[in-house]
């Protein structure tokens, strides 16, 4: 036993005496510093950069309409003139509401002989315009900020508020011809209501109008109506203006977490319902489950007043925006975990050279003539490689956490982790959740280290084992995903790379149906055993020539 300690000590000394290891550790620390620093700086540099002055844009549009005179051009000129006279900030709800109102007015003013295609045209031109409008100009700004992921959420959100309008117009009551008289009257009434609300900055009135519109909409399911009116009622009762998400220097007062969450929720509801409108067989069931979960969690947060919480990883939701407060501890810390693939490359370098370097340096001939059986040396090497891997991870996490805390504060460290179990929301500590997640993540890394270790023993070449190890680690997962998702090759689930990402298996985001963590652990165990036999054969049994 004492000898085993001696052997492990030897390995540690060898690993940490090499310049390359020291450089690696510095690189890991540098990575943590760099990531947090960049996140911090980009959070600071949220300068609002608009391609257009909105007023310039309105003038251009007026000119454009005057030249082209597409149907409804007079109405649109009126709209731009209105916008010129009333300057709204880019995120002001009134900006979007004006577009909505004038779209209704176009219906009201549409000539009765027009075909539906032609009545659609103004809508059609509106849509691209929409992305160019002040809402649209949010986007470049949004992508500049760390909240960038929210930007699509922001534009989506404006679409969301437009929904009643959009569904109202083209799908209108009269698909075969021009809007009927009843429709025109309704549109005109809608226009009047919205414009009055805009003029008085009466956003509650605007929202009430939307509820009324929604209730009249026959295409919506009751469930969707309930959810959407719940959102609007929440805004009204909690006094949260429906201003769009804006990330500029003055975002703090407007971009409160409730507004963000409400927009996200609205988004989820829209996406969920567009999924649910499909026939059952065509639905993306994973997405439906994820969205349902997200809706439950968001409502829970809003009702229980939980500004910051971590949630299970969910690619369907993540692309719609952060679930956290801007630049909070957990939002930064959890995203920085992506840098782990860099750490894994470093660990493969250590593992890949553990055995091979003894052969290439010729030192193996002094190593193996000691009164120590070879398998003991192999075990010592493996233990030291694994523990160095864990150490590197730990260094990375600890430094990362400290730096994140330094840059963004430790304020949210006690935030809960929310997840859905059955139909109810469960809450645990975020700290425990993230620690567990990273622990599972490290299994991936340790498996790859074992692979590199085995190749190292098999080939006795550092270059080959490091090269092959890094190549497999970086490409293996992608290739497996490709096999599973694009080619629907089911046996790919038995490949090691289909099983090492336990986090994605837990969140059911693998391409293989019905994959469980225990299955994955079993597959990993079999592979590790094979790697071990390979390493054993290469080091313990084979001759040293």
């Amino acid at each position: 036993m004492r000898k085993m300690w001696g052997l492990i000590t030897n390995e540690y000394i060898k690993i940490f005496s090499r310049i390359s290891t020291i450089i690696m550790l510095i690189a890991i620390i540098g990575l943590a510093v760099g990531y947090n620093g960049l996140m911090y700086l980009s959070g600071q540099a949220t300068v609002y950069n608009s391609f257009y002055e909105p007023t310039d844009y309105y003038r251009e549009q007026i000119q454009f309409e005057q030249q082209n005179k597409q149907p409804g051009w007079e109405t649109r000129i009126e709209m731009y003139t209105f916008l010129l006279d009333n300057t709204f900030t880019d995120n002001d709800w009134r900006g979007g509401a004006v577009y909505e109102a004038y779209a209704l007015k176009e219906i009201a003013n549409a000539p009765s002989i027009d075909t539906p295609e032609e009545t659609d045209t103004p809508d059609g031109t509106d849509a691209p315009d929409g992305t160019d409008t002040p809402d649209g100009t949010d986007t470049p700004d949004g992508t500049d900020t760390p909240d960038g992921t929210d930007a699509p959420g922001g534009t989506d959100a404006s679409d969301g508020t437009d929904t009643p309008d959009e569904t109202g117009t083209p799908d209108g009551t009269d698909p075969d011809g021009a809007p009927g008289a009843k429709e025109r009257t309704e549109a005109q009434a809608g226009f009047d209501t919205i414009i009055t609300a805009v003029k008085n900055d009466d956003w509650k009135g605007y929202l009430n109008y939307q509820i009324a519109q929604m209730n009249a909409d026959e295409d919506m399911t009751q469930e969707e109506k309930d959810l959407k009116s719940w959102i609007i009622q929440y805004r009204i009762s909690h006094d949260i203006r429906p201003d769009y998400l804006l990330y500029s220097q003055d975002d703090k007062p407007r971009d409160n977490w409730q507004n963000k969450t409400l927009f996200r929720l609205e988004n989820c509801v829209s996406m969920l319902n567009s999924e649910l409108r499909l026939p059952y067989a065509d639905r993306d069931h994973k997405k439906v489950a994820a969205l349902n979960e997200a809706v439950l969690i968001d409502k829970h947060r809003l009702v229980n007043d939980i500004p910051v919480a971590t949630q299970p990883d969910n690619p369907e939701i993540d692309q719609m925006g952060a679930t956290f407060a801007n630049n909070s501890f957990w939002s930064i810390f959890t995203t920085s975990a992506r840098a782990i693939s860099f750490v894994s490359v470093l660990i493969i370098i250590v593992a890949g050279s553990a055995i091979a370097s003894e052969f290439s340096g010729g030192t193996v001939k002094f190593l193996l003539i000691n009164p120590v059986k070879r398998w003991k040396i192999l075990v010592a090497k493996y233990i030291s490689v694994l523990s160095v891997a864990l150490l590197m991870l730990l260094v990375f996490y600890v430094f990362n956490a400290l730096l994140t805390g330094l840059f963004f504060g430790f304020g949210d460290i006690g935030a809960p982790h929310l997840y859905v179990s059955g139909d109810t929301i469960q809450s645990t500590s975020s700290f425990v959740f993230v620690a567990w997640k990273y622990l599972l993540g490290s299994i991936d890394l340790l498996t790859m280290a074992t692979l590199a270790f085995a190749i190292s023993s098999l080939t006795r070449s550092s270059a080959l084992s490091i090269g092959l190890g890094v190549f497999l680690t970086l490409s293996g997962k992608g290739a497996t995903l490709f096999l599973g998702e694009s080619f629907k090759i089911d046996w790919a689930r038995y490949l090691i790379f289909a099983n090492t990402n336990l986090n994605s298996i837990m969140t059911r985001t693998t391409p293989f149906l019905g994959q469980t963590v225990s299955f994955a652990l079993m597959v990993i165990a079999v592979y590790v055993l094979v790697f071990w036999i390979t390493a054993w054969d290469g080091f313990v049994r084979r001759d040293v020539k």
């Binding site: 000590t9 030192t363 001939k365 002094f366 193996l368 009164p371 120590v372 040293v544 020539k545």
Partner: protein, 311 residues
């Protein structure tokens, strides 16, 4: 008096389908330097690697102090130390750190003992420098320190004089002789340099094409090769007349030059008689000295010409 330390019995080794070591046997005793002599590619390093457990033994046994290397590796290796091929230690560690690496793998090595071996090999001034700054000679010494730190009973050195300068070779020779003759270690040294072996070894095993073709003490081997006769070189003013004068005696003349001639005599006492006869005949005798036949000559004779390959 001296005990058997290393026993190699009927060892064979296949490399692929080729038999590269063919049933070799020899043993080394405590207190002697055993030379393992043979041309490059004869199987010296392969044999040494089998003795030290780096290569598997396909047939036969190797025992160190009675412990079978294959079956009781740790016990056997606790009694052995060695350098195989080049003395490769970790270049990024200091000499001392390298020695501590080996200390941790062996039992009973104290810090004092390490200091002692560092002194024996004469590295005390440079031991804390990184090995990558060492010359080959210094690395060889570090390797030697590594090999003897745990007081092994068997010391195996593969081509230890490779790359050493003449002073280094002499120093190494002195160290090895002292280890063997004073500390009673069995030293096994392989080499293709015959002159080296002759000066260093007490006994020599000659290996050629994977076979041991003779194990004899250096002295024995040379006597055998000269047929029990000794050769003397007579330096005279007229070699031809001297040879003619001595033609009635039972002598073998091997080499006549304008200055001298060589005579193989059965018995040392004959030299006196010869001297008297030459002087009486008026030949000026400048000297008469015994010629030790070199191991190389012996080797060539034993291997029957195969020795051409030897440097």
């Amino acid at each position: 008096m001296s005990e058997t330390i290393l026993q190699v019995s009927q060892v064979s080794k296949m490399m692929g389908k080729r038999l590269i070591i063919d049933n070799i046997s020899f043993e080394t005793y405590s207190g002697e330097v055993f030379g393992f002599l043979g041309p490059n590619g004869a199987g010296k390093t392969t044999t040494i690697k089998m003795i030290l457990g780096l290569l598997a033994i396909d047939a036969g046994n190797v025992e160190i102090c009675g412990f079978n290397v294959a079956k009781r590796f740790e016990k056997a290796m606790a009694q052995a130390g060695g350098i195989v091929e080049n003395p490769e230690t970790y270049p990024y560690l200091s000499g001392m750190q390298n020695l501590l690496q080996y200390k941790r793998m062996r039992s009973g090595v104290t810090k004092n003992r390490i200091r002692e071996v560092v002194n024996i090999v004469g590295l005390e001034n440079r031991i804390h420098e990184k090995v990558k700054k060492y010359s080959l000679g210094m690395r060889q010494r570090l390797g030697l320190a590594q090999a003897i730190m745990h007081n092994p009973k068997l010391l195996v050195l593969d081509e230890p004089t490779n790359g050493l300068d003449p002073a280094g070779i002499r120093e190494l020779r002195d160290i090895l002789k002292r280890l063997a003759h004073e500390e009673g270690i069995a030293v096994l040294v392989s080499s293709h340099l015959l002159s080296e072996m002759e000066l260093m070894c007490d006994r020599v095993g000659i290996i050629s094409n994977g076979r041991i073709i003779g194990v004899k003490s250096t002295k024995e081997l040379m006597e055998q090769a000269s047929g029990g006769r000794k050769t003397f070189r007579f330096t005279v003013n007229d070699p031809n007349r001297a040879v003619a004068l001595l033609s009635d005696m039972e002598l073998t003349v091997t080499n006549i030059t304008p200055e001298n001639f060589d005579l193989a005599v059965a018995d040392d006492t004959m030299v006196g008689t010869i001297n008297a006869r030459l002087i009486n005949a008026g030949i000026i005798l400048l000297g008469a000295a015994p010629i030790e036949r070199s191991l190389e000559d012996v080797f060539i004779e034993i291997t029957g010409g195969g020795g051409n390959q030897i440097a």
